[in-house]
Symmetry: C2
Subunit: 239 residues, 2 copies
Amino acid sequence: MDALAIAFDGDDTLWESETAFAVTQERLRALLVPRVAAEVLDARLYATERANLELYGYGAKSFTLSTLETAIELAGDDLAISDVVAILALGKELLSHPVELLPDVEEIVAWAAETAGWTLVVTKGDLFHQESKVALSGLADTFDAVEIVSEKDEATYARILARHGIDPATFVMVGNSLRSDIAPVLAIGGAAVHVPHPLTWAHEHVDDESPLRAHPRFRAIDALCDLPTAIADLRRPLD
Amino acid sequence: MDALAIAFDGDDTLWESETAFAVTQERLRALLVPRVAAEVLDARLYATERANLELYGYGAKSFTLSTLETAIELAGDDLAISDVVAILALGKELLSHPVELLPDVEEIVAWAAETAGWTLVVTKGDLFHQESKVALSGLADTFDAVEIVSEKDEATYARILARHGIDPATFVMVGNSLRSDIAPVLAIGGAAVHVPHPLTWAHEHVDDESPLRAHPRFRAIDALCDLPTAIADLRRPLD
């Protein structure tokens, strides 16, 4: 078979992301209590984020704007300008949050660079913030390419593979999101390795996981350090 | 000589952008008057946008967040939550503003596609919003590549040219910003054609235009319909 191309998701696969959003949301709850109940806030914020996806896209600036909209809707006249100031500050903190690599990332990325013919990052979200995270990760030079995209669907992966001349049969995507990292890659003929993250945004789940989990080109691992085993296992049927 | 590669800037070269920002800013002035004087608002908003560039990057979501910050700083306790609601709505309008092509764009882009070996869009700003503008422009299929970048500096252009195997000596960038479309391209050995737009954000100006304007690979035209003449003129010394 041809040399493998191994691609990694960024947020919550190579580095922590959702944890910082969760901390921010916890602070937001504390800010708005007792005017707004925590569960009401969480549910409405998620609904607002999803409704705004079409206009804002993903990322921390979109999150900040949706948070403001939600706080105003829920707290109404009880919201003070000082709360708006606090929310803008929470958004800035989220954007300037340091990049914390997940366990074993450096070793596994180095292993992939040695093993595969081609390694990539395929990450979704705000272009400016994602570029900054890639730079701060210290891993940028390890990868042959970094692709920052606004949505991870079949068309996106097909475009990336075509651009780099990668045959889908040799492509393995590694990530924590069944919706963004696994389903579209399996659909275009690639292989996918799922590394769960304890905090994964509800939007990244899929309604029915079973067709993905039963797929011959799918592997699930508990942690990134198991990637070499999963890839060795995938290569057999791929050969 | 090799076939030319012609690249176009997006905002205010292919389609209107700054006009919509200016309209939004005018509405913001009207919203905050008489609490905040228009000139004070303009100056402080520009300062806030520049200070936030490092964290927010370019684009309409960044503009909306900087606008909120500025309004709060200037109006203080006189700002009402209803003003925050109005500013969030202005931001959404800006993001959903229809894409209006500038005069002669369709003809000139078609001419470039026939004339050059390679045509690109190189546009700066919010990934999600820029992708949406490219799609709504109806021009996406005319170009060989669309590059959305967070900053247009020498490193960015060098990376794009390397990625597509374009020799800088055959590269011509067409745009309205001396800072982003002209200076870095001339610096890496390419040619550049300046098409001014009556509204260009102050940040896109350069302190001293004369070295650019005197450069042998620089041409200035009044409108995009003059591009064929400028390129013909550039090709002579380029040959």
